[in-house]
Symmetry: C2
Subunit: 189 residues, 2 copies
């Protein structure tokens, strides 16, 4: 089972993935590759694979991505190798991904559970991005514009969760994962 957590920037996707993986031995986090700058406290190979544009292009040529997309001037990609390893090990996988990427993954792999994570409102998302202080004004504008576009895709997802409170939101996603593990479509009957 692959759990996709998608939604606008500032919805808290990455933090949530980390919280969930820590408490669930059957769940692994798919680390994305990106060309965006490393933020304070982020570790290469743990939070993201931080690549230069040249490195990213090489990975593309070497067909190492399940999907990749340009979002807000930076490239983001989902490396294949770990995904297939986890699938072989019968682990469940969680990934945070942009809405375009979610669409591609849905078409390439089976057994996808997709969750759209909404910030309580877009002002709140705006505030969180500003607080993060890592984006300039143009980037913020671009992220908010694409947030509005992304929300239109919500109908293609299985679940919608509003991230009012991080702990509460993590509990809901945990419930979704537990429920899906008991879904008849995953039973051998």
């Amino acid at each position: 089972m692959i759990v996709i957590l998608a939604g606008p920037s500032g919805a808290g996707k990455t933090t949530l993935c980390k919280m969930l993986v820590k408490k669930d031995k059957k769940l692994e986090y798919s680390i994305s590759a990106t060309t965006r700058k490393k933020r304070k406290g982020e570790i290469n190979g743990k939070d993201y694979y931080f690549l230069t544009e040249d490195e990213f292009k090489r990975w593309q040529l070497e067909d190492r991505f399940l999907e990749f997309a340009k979002v807000h001037d930076y490239y983001y990609g989902t490396p294949k190798d770990k995904i297939f390893k986890y699938m072989k090990d019968k682990k469940d996988i969680i990934m945070d991904i942009d809405v375009q990427g979610a669409e591609i993954i849905r078409n390439k792999l089976n057994d996808i559970v997709s969750i759209f994570l909404l910030p309580p409102d877009l002002d709140e998302a705006n505030l969180r991005i500003k607080k993060r202080g890592t984006e300039n004004k143009d980037e913020i504008k671009s992220r908010l514009k694409s947030a509005l576009n992304e929300i239109k895709e919500i109908k293609n997802f299985n679940y919608v969760v509003v991230n009012k409170d991080l702990k509460e939101c993590a509990d809901v996603i945990k419930s979704i994962i537990i429920a899906e593990r008991h879904s008849i479509i995953r039973m051998e009957v």
Copy 2:
């Protein structure tokens, strides 16, 4: 949303419903009517509506049941009035029901979430029924036979939960309810 908990006798359905309703203000328990004898500790109007055969037939004639069925020589029915009241109050409803009844409810109402509750194995179900000490040998045989038949219907359910441990099982069902409340099909988008 109506949550149906079905499965063989001795799987722990009624106990689980009670546990879940106690902890969830949005969830109401649909009390069944039955012609079977009251067991020790059971309260009329709380655990079941205990009716005589004549009373049960009158309720049938007055069209007061959403569904009714004869199971193991006794009649069981789901009264309509409370169900419609809870639906009007935007409450979720949980009901424990036999497999035949589940089929009827599924055809009559929308927005059903159906859970098949399995005892860890049928010997265990056997043991629980014997422990309860309320059924005679023929009744036990009849219940076990129908358990085997009921399990064949499992594919028509949304979820399957094995009741190894009552607390654990209640947590899984709680997760299913939380997940379903966040399903895209219940969002107004």
